[in-house]
């Protein structure tokens, strides 16, 4: 007979490989980042000198960081859109119809496409003489809004008023398939009897979606919303490939990157990173309140 303490030991033993890796690649960097945020780090000799809250004071007064943070928070608009769309699409491709695998695969392709490659392709879509404007020109000629050689010339990623939304559309396209797959897994865990019973009771598709599907995939919604919120706050790659931070698309992590790798000011970069983490945590708490199980 094994006693409970040896069970615990065995459990930790099994956890150890993952914990060690997480420790090295997650907890240690987070801890060291926090340490750096309160220090001046000299890259030349690797020394860190304590400087209190100086970095935080600096970024508190830094307009560029404020606008970057504003853009990152604005980026959260993509979260509800992508979640709703992913859930609806997951519901659609969850039907047992011929050709469904094709659609599932198609929606997933953007997820596995390298962001740099996708960025180049989307830059062509968004160019002022690119595909999107070409298509819109065709449509506007078709409906008679434009005539002759008139063209639609919207600078999708060059106009500061709309550039960030264009970048969000790219994020939406790129991430949709990922959340769709997660929702698909959640949907397939719903017993068919529940849905069948609702049909017998005369519930229509709309009611079934909101009263059965949504409540039953709530844990998945929490997970997906959390993941996409963090991803939105961390928006950086899509910005660097599409706009390089021009046209008011400079995000908080872009600021972190610039401070670290253009200024070599790792302390200030760490402080800015910590502020982003702080916002992520607040948002996570809010989401747990909304979608988490109430005990």
């Amino acid at each position: 007979m094994k006693n409970s303490s040896s069970y615990t030991a065995v459990a930790y033993l099994f956890l150890a490989p993952a914990l060690i890796l997480m420790g090295i690649f997650t907890f240690w960097p987070v801890g060291y980042n926090t340490y750096l945020a309160f220090h001046d780090y000299a890259i030349a000799d690797g020394t860190a000198t304590w400087n209190n809250f100086e970095h935080f004071k600096y970024i508190y007064h830094e307009d560029l960081f404020h606008s970057a943070l504003k853009n990152s928070l604005l980026y959260l608009l993509v979260v509800p859109c992508i979640q709703l769309a992913a859930l609806v699409i997951a519901k659609l491709v969850n039907n047992k119809l011929p050709g469904m695998t094709f659609f599932r695969a198609t929606y997933y392709i953007p997820v596995i496409t390298a962001i740099s490659v996708a960025g180049v392709a989307w830059a062509f879509v968004y160019k002022y003489d690119g595909m999107l404007n070409g298509f819109l020109t065709w449509v506007s000629h078709f409906i008679g809004y434009h005539s002759g050689f008139e063209r639609v010339e919207i600078d999708w990623i060059g106009n500061p008023d709309i550039a960030i939304y264009s970048v969000m559309v790219f994020t939406f396209w790129k991430g949709l398939g990922y959340y769709m797959v997660l929702y698909l897994a959640g949907l397939q865990a719903i017993p068919t009897e529940v849905e069948e019973a609702a049909i017998l009771d005369g519930a229509n598709a709309w009611d079934r979606f909101w009263k059965i599907t949504v409540p039953m995939v709530k844990p998945t919604i929490l997970l997906c919303t959390l993941l996409s919120t963090i991803a939105a706050m961390k928006a950086f790659q899509e910005v660097i490939v599409l706009t390089k931070g021009q046209s008011d698309t400079y995000t908080a992590l872009f600021y972190v990157y610039d401070q670290a790798f253009r200024n070599y000011n790792f302390g200030r970069a760490a402080a800015a990173g910590l502020v982003v983490t702080f916002f992520c945590m607040i948002l996570a708490i809010i989401q747990f309140r909304f979608f988490g199980d109430k005990k």
Partner: protein, 420 residues
């Protein structure tokens, strides 16, 4: 027992061999020199250079190490801290100023001596900090102007009239009015470099000064050009690749770029290549050739035999080796006066082939090749300051903000970030 004996003998022999090898190596001074991003393409060049140097200097041993440009600084810093820096390191100009200010590289005047005279004046000026030369000037490149003769003819623009930057802007406008094609796509991502080219100061006496009437007038010219449609609408998105693509597809009449870009035109757009002419990019008030970016060698502080390091530095950047290297790259140019006059560069001056012409034109422009950048350490937060300036410059050129207002806003931010 036997095994033990064998092991003892083996260890003794091995130890002796090691000692002998070390003793032999100790006779020679090892001169490691680091370059950035030149292997494996230029292996043959460096192999001959190393062999030649080592043969001529039996007591020295040059060793070539190539690395990615972003590894150079961290590795150098680590080696400085460990007390075993290499003999020579390939730097760009801003790094020379940065490291000279920190005192991590040594002045070379005493080692250069009379050999200083072989380098072009501008090249030496680039690496002179507080009156002392801190690097051996190496290779460089400048922008030239390639133009589409067919479009020029249609617009009635003569290449001879492009003698100043203003004339270039006027030509761009004329081309656009007459043909509908954009004139050219000047690089807009670096307003600081643009100001220097135009001979306008950026920071003076600890204050940002780029909102003077002269600066405003200069930026206003770009804004007018943009408004007139004489430069591409997405000019701020255009880099090296996009400019070549636009020129190759006939969307712009002139390309302001390094001579090597013409190779792309030759292979990708033969029809355009066949009607391409080449001219020198006009000098402006800054009296500097456009688009220079010089490479050089520095001697890190703490290297034990600086005189030997300098010997290698002078060898690698001397007339003979610079010429060989330029021939190997086909697109870069020496920074020594004599090497640039070599028939290799000038043979193409009257050639029909644009690439050969470009080589001759660029070699001639090397006299004005200066790599001017903001002195490192001027700003406390360079990333943020340059970003603010670039954003305001873009807003001004694209007509979203009055020029004066945009430059004032950037100056205000800069003045809070200039190191006191």
């Amino acid at each position: 027992m036997k095994l033990k004996k064998m092991l003892t003998v083996g260890a003794a022999v091995f130890g002796l061999g090691l000692f002998a090898a070390q003793a032999q190596a100790a006779d020679k001074v090892k001169l490691e020199f680091w370059t950035m991003n030149l292997a494996p393409k230029f292996d043959p060049y460096f192999k001959q250079a190393v062999t030649k140097f080592n043969a001529a200097n039996p007591t020295l041993e040059a060793v070539w190490v190539d690395m990615n440009w972003d590894q150079i600084q961290p590795k150098l810093i680590a080696s400085l801290a460990a007390g075993n820096p290499p003999a020579l390191v390939n730097f760009n100009v801003p790094w020379v100023h940065e490291f000279a200010a920190q005192g991590n590289i040594i002045p070379l005047d005493q080692y250069l001596g009379a050999d200083k005279a072989i380098y072009s004046t501008q090249a030496l000026a680039d690496v002179t900090v507080k009156g002392k030369v801190y690097a051996f000037p190496w290779y460089n490149s400048v922008s030239i102007l390639a133009y589409n003769k067919t479009i020029f003819d249609k617009a009635g623009v003569k290449v001879d009239q492009l003698k100043s930057f203003d004339a270039l802007l006027a030509a761009a406008k004329q081309i656009n009015e007459k043909t509908g094609v954009d004139g050219f796509a000047p690089k807009m991502s670096d307003p600081i470099g643009m100001f220097y080219y135009l001979g306008l100061p950026v920071v003076e006496n600890g204050k940002a000064v780029f909102n003077s009437p002269k600066h405003v007038a200069a930026v206003q010219k770009f804004a007018d050009l943009y408004k007139a449609g004489a430069i591409p609408k997405d000019i701020f998105k255009m880099a090296f690749e996009q400019e070549i693509a636009a020129y190759n597809s006939g969307k712009i009449a002139m390309m302001t770029t390094a001579p090597q870009a013409l190779k792309r035109t030759e292979t990708d757009a033969k029809a355009v290549y066949d009607v391409t002419g080449v001219a020198q990019f006009p000098l402006d008030a800054g009296k500097m050739s456009f688009g220079a970016w010089m490479m050089d060698f520095v001697v890190p502080k703490g290297f034990k035999n600086p005189a030997d390091a300098a010997k290698l530095g002078k060898f690698l950047t001397g007339d003979e080796q610079q010429l060989l290297f330029a021939k190997a790259t086909e697109t870069t140019f020496p920074t020594t006066k004599k090497a640039n006059l070599d028939p290799y560069f000038q043979a193409g001056a009257n050639s029909k082939d644009p690439i050969e012409q470009a080589r001759a034109v660029a070699a001639k422009a090397m006299d004005g090749a200066r790599t001017l950048t903001l002195t490192p350490g001027t700003l406390t937060d360079e990333a943020a300051a340059t970003k603010v300036l670039a954003d305001n410059f873009q807003a001004a050129v694209e007509g979203r903000k009055p020029v004066k207002e945009a430059l004032d806003a950037a100056v205000a931010v800069w003045n809070t970030k200039i190191a006191k």
